[in-house]
Symmetry: C2
Subunit: 252 residues, 2 copies
């Protein structure tokens, strides 16, 4: 019998099977640190790889919870709706990040998730993942780290919303994106914003006009190059200092 793996490797023209092993995010995502055998086990429980078109919802508040979602490709925003129907964006997610963990406690989703661009996610049925936890301790340990990271991320957002002035918030936002792109092997100084000014403002607890003014200000100071949604951090150190509160920002 021929070895299917060898066949696949030689037949370079046929599309690779979508699997954790050949996903560029497997070093950041749930399968981090797993050996090939365990990664295969994880692959086997993954439901479908699902496409989500820009603007579409992956799930909504109060939807019954059954799966977590790992982002293969693209960007998402998660947001809550208050009783008046206004949204508060609680985060922007990119490839390799896991969504839906807030739903575990009550078996229904607590936020909405919408794609910021055409994207792809891996559906991970949670009950099957729980079965794997008993078999692959490494997976469980990494899952705990991911959940813990999510808690830390949100605590930082609270610090931002509760404590920082507008220019600090925006600088912190840019620096945060920068480091996340760096972790994915992309440029830390040059990237595209996938979200609108309105979304940025909403996330940062500011209005769209404030964001627009901040963009202009940072541009005039020579700290930022901006062309529509294309961003270049021209003075990352100063932006970091500003985010840290160690630097102030002239008004004009």
């Amino acid at each position: 019998m021929s070895n299917p793996q060898v066949i696949q490797r030689s037949a370079s023209l046929q599309p690779m099977k979508t699997s954790c092993a050949n996903c560029s995010m497997h070093q950041l995502c749930l399968p981090m640190g797993l050996d090939n055998a365990d990664m295969d086990r994880l692959d086997q429980i993954i439901g479908r790889r699902r496409r989500v078109a820009r603007g579409e919802s992956l799930y909504r508040m109060d939807d019954p919870f059954s799966s977590l979602y790992a982002i293969r490709l693209g960007h998402f925003k998660t947001y809550q709706l208050n009783p008046a129907g206004e949204q508060q964006i609680t985060g922007f997610q990119m490839a390799g990040e896991l969504m839906g963990m807030d739903a575990i406690s009550s078996d229904k989703h607590h936020c909405n998730v919408a794609a910021l661009e055409d994207s792809e996610v891996c559906e991970i049925p949670f009950h099957r993942l729980e079965e794997l936890f008993g078999v692959i301790p490494t997976l469980l340990r990494h899952f705990h780290r991911i959940m813990s990271q999510e808690i830390t991320r949100e605590q930082n957002a609270m610090l931002l919303l509760g404590n920082m002035r507008a220019e600090q918030r925006f600088a912190a936002f840019l620096v945060n994106l920068s480091s996340r792109y760096a972790a994915r092997g992309y440029s830390s100084t040059s990237f595209q914003l996938r979200m609108s000014r309105e979304d940025i403002g909403n996330y940062l607890g500011l209005t769209i006009e404030s964001i627009s003014r901040l963009v202009s200000r940072f541009r005039k100071l020579g700290w930022l190059g901006v062309d529509k949604r294309e961003i270049e951090l021209l003075d990352p150190e100063r932006l970091k200092a500003l985010a840290a509160g160690a630097e102030t920002c002239p008004m004009t």
Copy 2:
């Protein structure tokens, strides 16, 4: 050989052993839903029951992580320090709640924890807890729910800080305390604030003066009875409506 459990039960004058089984919080805390045998297993890994005097730190940012802490008795605040040394309180914790989960991801604590009154915690060595996860699936499932709940809690705090006006925030804060006391079998309308006005303001992203004015306003409206830190919700429904944004609050 005599059965020590029977002896303990009959000798009512000697103090009960501190254990999960005889802790009033075991229905809310980590051992929720465990049978007696499993609760004993959990008991055996719990390090010490540690007292923390009012104002004392349980742990600080950057301390190495080794244990989670469950509150047996008392109240705590968790807070972050920004690089300038200002604090942002990220939560107030009460009996039955678990602290330290944000430290799992990086093996060091990301926030400071201080006791708001003389308190007691159970130290839960995390590595030993991980061992138990393999033996008691119920415990693992509940642990995931607790972490998930923490994520949800913080998302709600983001909604509060990013979206709500001062009077909404304060109403939401009171309603939140109210429901947590109710869940513990205490009065939902009458309780003592364990934290200072300053702490409340810090948590809500407001100043101490704003809190003081809100207290006065709610008192004059007859929605709230206040005597120092003793609080009575005189019109809980209206406070809930205000927190939900369905009700406005006259200025004078």
